[in-house]
Symmetry: C2
Subunit: 479 residues, 2 copies
């Protein structure tokens, strides 16, 4: 019998501010919901999230995928999990092509030379010396693609689509990453010697946002650089003033063979331990900052949520598994080089017992909406979850949650349902992939609310027998 059926009676009751459910027909379910509220409130008052994110970012700093730092941080995190009562803690290694930033610089040349602040894009090749060339500016990827063949021979392609729009759900990001990913290949196709993009971010600081570019035939085709927003403004103004603008670019970035690893630990289920709920985040970070919001915060939130459940006085029926994925920040020709793919390969047929997966990889600000798999939307389970989460400001999401992020994407692709606790990303893209992604950007109060939402929701799933795979979308979703 499912939680969804049992809670039907309770869902008609008024709730104001705090959870005020009277016992429905099934006492076990009422207890589950009440315990979810208690877990929520416990997480609000204290958790290990701040401790974890402080320690990992302070001890190890940046943790690029496959770096010694990521490896050391993973070993430390496994110890941290054990120390905090997690079971079956293990490290799963996998090979990948690592990328190391070297020295890099850029400048406007000519009568009035000026330094430009750039960051090589992830997996960009080095420049093999200094490139000095004229810049040709485009406002869109389409315009670059439409340039005549050979028209950029010996030149630098510069795409400046304007500043990213700052949105709660981060939806301004996707269209711009398409340019970042495809830009080097598009520029190479027209004969360009390098590719420059206005840094994909919503801030106006001289703090470029790095990020991946797309492999073609096993390599990124051209050196690519993100230009900090104020520098992009400056370069575009200089071009608008007329006359050719020449710049220099240099980078000693290079790739290397290495290993990364997932760190896995769990709160083993009391009665149905083979049924697994996966909470994902990633261990690696870009090299410029210390990866506090991207994504030590996700590890902190999911670890704290699981620990809050473990300390609630009773274990849930199902297993809550926390995975700190290695090497999320890569975009290689195959999926072999990232932690999500490695985890899926590692579990083999166990994937059938994976009830649901959720990913925390969007900073540490507050959760504002819950997205459930399509079949669960408007269900009694959703109503129960809504009652527990409403008092901390979480509403149902309008969008069904289908895909998760890069870490749980492979699980989703293999048929595991996913949920999303949508968090406020308004300031996320001010910081993400920059040197400014540091501990001080975490707001402890918002992070506690975030942990509370995770802990309560995961408890509800883990101490029930709800089967998200079996749920079918209703023809007309309930309101």
């Amino acid at each position: 019998m499912r939680l969804t059926t049992r809670l039907l009676a309770a869902s008609a009751l008024a709730v104001s501010g705090t959870l005020a459910l009277v016992a429905p027909a099934g006492a076990q379910d009422a207890a589950t919901v009440e315990r979810a509220a208690a877990i929520r409130d416990a997480a609000l008052s204290r958790n290990i999230a701040l401790d974890y994110v402080t320690q990992i970012t302070t001890r190890f700093g940046a943790r690029p995928a496959g770096s010694h730092s990521e490896q050391q941080a993973a070993a430390w995190a496994a110890g941290y999990m054990r120390e905090h009562g997690f079971q079956n803690v293990r490290i799963e290694q996998f090979p990948l092509v690592g990328w190391e930033r070297g020295e890099e610089s850029a400048a406007v040349l000519g009568d009035h030379p000026q330094r430009l602040v750039v960051a090589a894009l992830g997996h960009s090749p080095g420049t093999n010396g200094v490139i000095e060339a004229e810049v040709v500016r485009f406002e869109t990827l389409e315009a670059l693609n439409a340039a005549p063949a050979g028209s950029l021979a010996g030149k630098i392609a510069y795409v400046d689509p304007g500043q990213m729009v700052r949105m709660q759900d981060g939806s301004g990001y996707g269209p711009l990453t398409r340019i970042r990913g495809a830009g080097p290949a598009a520029a190479a196709a027209k004969g360009a010697v390098a590719f420059v993009i206005r840094s994909v971010g919503s801030d106006e600081h001289r703090m470029p946002h790095t990020g991946t570019t797309r492999y073609v035939d096993g390599v990124v085709p051209l050196p690519g650089f993100a230009l900090a927003a104020p520098d992009a403004d400056q370069l575009s103004r200089l071009i608008a003033m007329g006359g050719p603008v020449r710049i220099s670019l240099s980078s000693t970035a290079h790739t290397y063979q290495t290993v990364s690893q997932n760190v896995v630990g769990e709160i083993t289920g009391a009665t149905r331990p083979h049924e697994v709920i996966v909470l994902g985040s990633h261990m690696d970070s870009w090299d410029l900052g210390t990866g506090a919001i991207d994504d030590a915060a996700g590890g902190a939130i999911t670890l704290a949520a699981a620990k809050t459940i473990a300390e609630s006085g009773r274990r849930p029926a199902r297993t809550v598994r926390v995975v700190l994925y290695g090497s999320e920040e890569v975009d290689q020709p195959t999926n072999t080089g990232n932690g999500g793919g490695a985890y899926l390969r590692g579990i083999g047929s166990e994937v059938e017992n994976h009830i649901i997966a959720g990913e925390s990889d969007f900073g540490a600000d507050r959760i504002y909406a819950l997205g459930l798999p399509p079949g669960a939307q408007g269900s009694d389970f959703a109503k129960a979850a809504g009652r527990v989460l409403y008092p901390i400001g979480v509403l149902p999401s309008a969008d069904p949650e289908l895909h998760g992020g890069a870490d749980i994407g492979p699980l989703a692709g293999a048929g595991v349902p996913v949920f999303g606790l949508n968090q406020d990303g308004t300031r996320y893209f001010d910081l993400h992939h920059t040197a400014d992604d540091t501990l001080d950007k975490i707001d402890p109060a918002q992070m506690s609310q975030n942990v509370a939402a995770w802990a309560a929701l995961v408890w509800l799933i883990a101490d029930s027998d709800v089967d998200f795979r079996a749920m079918r979308p209703a023809a007309q979703a309930a309101h």
Copy 2:
């Protein structure tokens, strides 16, 4: 007869929102005040400030004192003044010891190496290779001064007084610059090999604030570095975790002999041209940003104020002189290396005809208060100025204005009265002396209000015969 007397009658009239003076006994003065209001409103609607600050920061980027860039920018600015109708435009050269940042880097050493974001402090010597040493942390300059003799032998002194307080009047800055200035000498006295200070700023970005340090016997005694706020947090946390923390520091900064220059131009007075009102700001900037708020904005504001007056349809009686001082951002053993001292030497006995001086060197945000010389406070002149400035949100300042800033300080020292249009500095020290001091940080609407306040006040002074030197502080200031 002075404006102060003539305006007595008008000062009793009610004013609400816009200036509504009826003609007092002296029609000329009423006309002056009315024209001040018209000039104020003209400045609000348009001015050249945004054009100037855009052009100079875009064309020349950073303009370090004595650099080729500062020299080129000065020549360009002289042309800009002529083009915009300024008279007697001239460039006054003077020698100085310039300072050039080279390559610089810092890192935490040990098992978990981490990059630290630093900026060498102005006029710091280079490190002559890489310094690797243990860090000793102090919270105050006093604590560093109290360290036993020789106790820092071979070590790096690190002063972390905590984050600067963000204040409208910038008053959090002074106490911390004392540490920055005196730190290298204090550290050297205890045997240290380098000095590091938490970057003096109110932001939390990985954008260190550079700034001057104090010369001792003709040189800055030790290499000194500003550590960006998040990195200062990180280093202090690592030290608090226990065990010695070693860091590396390197810098190839060096000094060199060069010249800087003041650019001077004026709106010549119609009837008493030998009486001069000086509006000051500085041309040079630190090397990290493009010096938009520090201090291309000051040049933009004072040039736009003077031009608004020139275009008002009638020239004022007195001369309004705009000086774009060279080499403000230095702190050398003598005053010979800065533009303020050079200007004073250049004018000789003409200083007697300098009616008053004002300096715009605090960004481009709105003016909120007017500070007049002690004798003018509560005077009829102050009341007239108050009426013109009140509609744009400017109140009388509680503090008498005595000293000005570094540019007009030498004039003040020679007996020239000064005024201050206090501007909102709440966000100034987030940006000042960092790479982030760029054009996008200018708010055009606030800058227009700023220009309006300058233009209206300067008109009131320039078209009157008020003598600030002759005014004596009242025993009891009027309210």
